[in-house]
Amino acid sequence: MALRNDEEKVNRVASSIAQKNRSLVRWGVRPAGDSYWALVVRRFLRHRLAVTGLVVLILMSLAALAAPLLAPHDPNAMDLFAFSAPPSVEHPLGTDSLGRDVLSRLLFASRISLSVGLGATLINVVVGVLLGGLAGYLGGKVDSAIMRFTDMILSFPPLMIILVLVSVLGPSLMNVILVLGLLGWPQICRLVRAEILKLKEQDFIQAARALGVPDGRILLRHLIPNAFPPVLVAATFGAAQAIIQEASLSFLGMGVQPPTASWGNLLTDAQSMGVLGSMPWLWLPPGLMIVVAVLSINFVGDGLRDALDPRLK
């Protein structure tokens, strides 16, 4: 037991030094040796799966951006000579029951699904960092009010409350992003709060306070940037979660509405046993896209976690 305590103490001192170094870097003072971020990049590149994941994600995003150039057909155009057609030269992934080209729809769906993941995560980070920062820094009544509110949001099973809110607001792309964004922040909020409670007691914050730096500036310049690494990791895993949730919503018909294609709503038709059994080209590719995207993001998250703070492993 005694040994463990010592280890913890050493760790605490080490992390305090690392944090001080990080803020020194921000002031243009470089500690001896490599900068923190150079180390992070080097450690990340050593993580093979994470690098693979990142490359896959970049390729996917490029394909999504270039969808109008890459898609062989208009995603909403119906080919009157090929309803529910199996893959062919003309339609590499076949067509759906309305004669629309599956590959083209898949490419355009990537745009929607990836932007939902990105948009929802950005909202999560902004709300989570703001509320977590306020709770951790101000403490007292504000802290307990924010944390109780967080508990309440966390008590609703995630998909359940999302489904209810989306159905009340009306399913649409914007509403899906908003609902996922406004319900996904509690994790980040708790993380930021815990991090700031830890940082608040450290010497460099005490020093800033003694120098008379105003509260808002301490929070924005010193506390939140130093709490950033774990937030980045949590946000990465959160983006994977958001993509799965959007797909689930759209699959159930409560998300992105057709004719706009998203990875999830391309699978909706497969709920009928006939389509599921006889037209695998319709539902297998979008399903695999979701799996590959989510796996890649999770790999990147793993790599980031190990690279940003090896002790978190």
């Binding site: 509110f149 309440m152 609703f156 099973p157 995630p158 599921l276």
Partner: protein, 316 residues
């Protein structure tokens, strides 16, 4: 101990109140007027206004909320908009199948996660460790509905081994083996969805325990490695697993909504989707509340069990 439970329950009261308030507020955002559904569309605007007044729909939000809460405390969750049955009864019919599905899935996931997690921690970076790592990551990354579709495609449509949905065969024997055959696929899908996190947790918890002094002592006094694992490591590894069961509950409920929809399993999840598609807000409100209370109760139960299982923890 009992003091601790009472205190936890007291802290839970404002949280539960907050949950009901959020729930009521969300449902009240819904467009559409319940009066339009309940009464004759031929009534004049003036008649409707009197009706609204009589039903108390013109009162301020908080007054309406308090009235609804009063009914709730007496066990009245209102009536379904679509079937006009009491919501409590509608939900009551569905609790059994959902608990059966979730319980089986949880059991299945534990039966796999505990031995595999421990084995991969005992030999880190071995082939088995990598294999369980991949299964774990897949479990986290596969959307439940896609796993469900793939399982139906492979095991029902192509191999024809198991039924593709429902809880019993049409006109089939009401024998328990029939129900079991229907249970296997959805339970496996739900178990896989929860397996990933469990594997990771069991592995890291075992790694932590293996490093402890008492394990070294047990080895030093000459116990065989099996005995060390079963008598000393296993019991300590399982401690965080208990807490996890409580924390997994929200994800388990979310997963069962989709699994039940894909497999047409007649539980609370399927009812949720039906209620959403039918804009049946009273039923939805009841389901949402029940789920939230289940999550809170699960967390409390996990904390209490943790205290029972680990004598080092004392609740004051």
């Amino acid at each position: 101990m009992s003091q601790y439970i009472v205190r936890r329950l007291v802290i839970m009261i404002p949280v539960v109140l907050g949950i009901t308030l959020i729930n009521y507020a969300i449902i009240n955002l819904a467009p559409g007027d319940p009066v339009d559904l309940l009464i004759d569309p031929n009534l004049t605007e003036a008649d409707r206004a009197t009706r609204r007044e009589a039903l108390g729909l013109n009162d301020p939000f908080l007054v309406r909320y308090a009235r609804w809460l009063g009914e709730l405390v007496q066990g009245n969750l209102g009536y379904s908009y679509t079937t006009y049955e009491p919501v409590l009864e509608r939900i009551g019919e569905r609790v059994g199948p959902t608990l059966l599905l979730m319980g089986t899935a949880l059991l299945l996931a534990y039966l796999l996660a505990i031995p595999l997690g421990i084995a991969s921690a005992v030999r880190p970076y071995s082939g088995l460790d990598y294999a369980t790592g991949v299964v774990g990551l897949l479990g986290v990354s596969l959307p439940t509905f896609f796993t469900g579709l793939v399982f139906i495609y492979v095991f029902s449509l192509k191999l024809g081994w198991l039924p593709s949905g429902g809880m019993t065969s049409l006109g089939g024997a009401a024998h328990w083996t029939d129900r079991l055959r229907h249970l296997i696929l959805p339970a496996a899908v739900l178990a896989l969805a929860n397996l990933g996190l469990m594997l990771r947790l069991v592995r890291s918890s075992t790694l932590e325990v293996l490093r402890q002094d008492f394990v070294r002592t047990a080895r030093a006094k000459g116990l065989g490695s099996w005995q060390v694992l079963v008598r000393h490591v296993l019991r300590n590894t399982l401690l965080p697993v208990i807490t996890m069961a409580g924390l997994q509950l929200p994800a388990l409920i979310a997963g069962s909504i989709i699994t039940e929809q894909v497999f047409q399993w007649p539980g609370m999840g399927w009812l949720t989707i039906q209620a959403i598609l039918g804009r049946d807000y009273p039923t939805l409100m009841g389901l949402n509340l029940l789920a939230a209370v289940m999550v809170l109760a699960g967390n409390l139960l996990a904390d209490i069990l943790y205290g029972v299982a680990d004598p080092r923890i004392r609740y004051e």
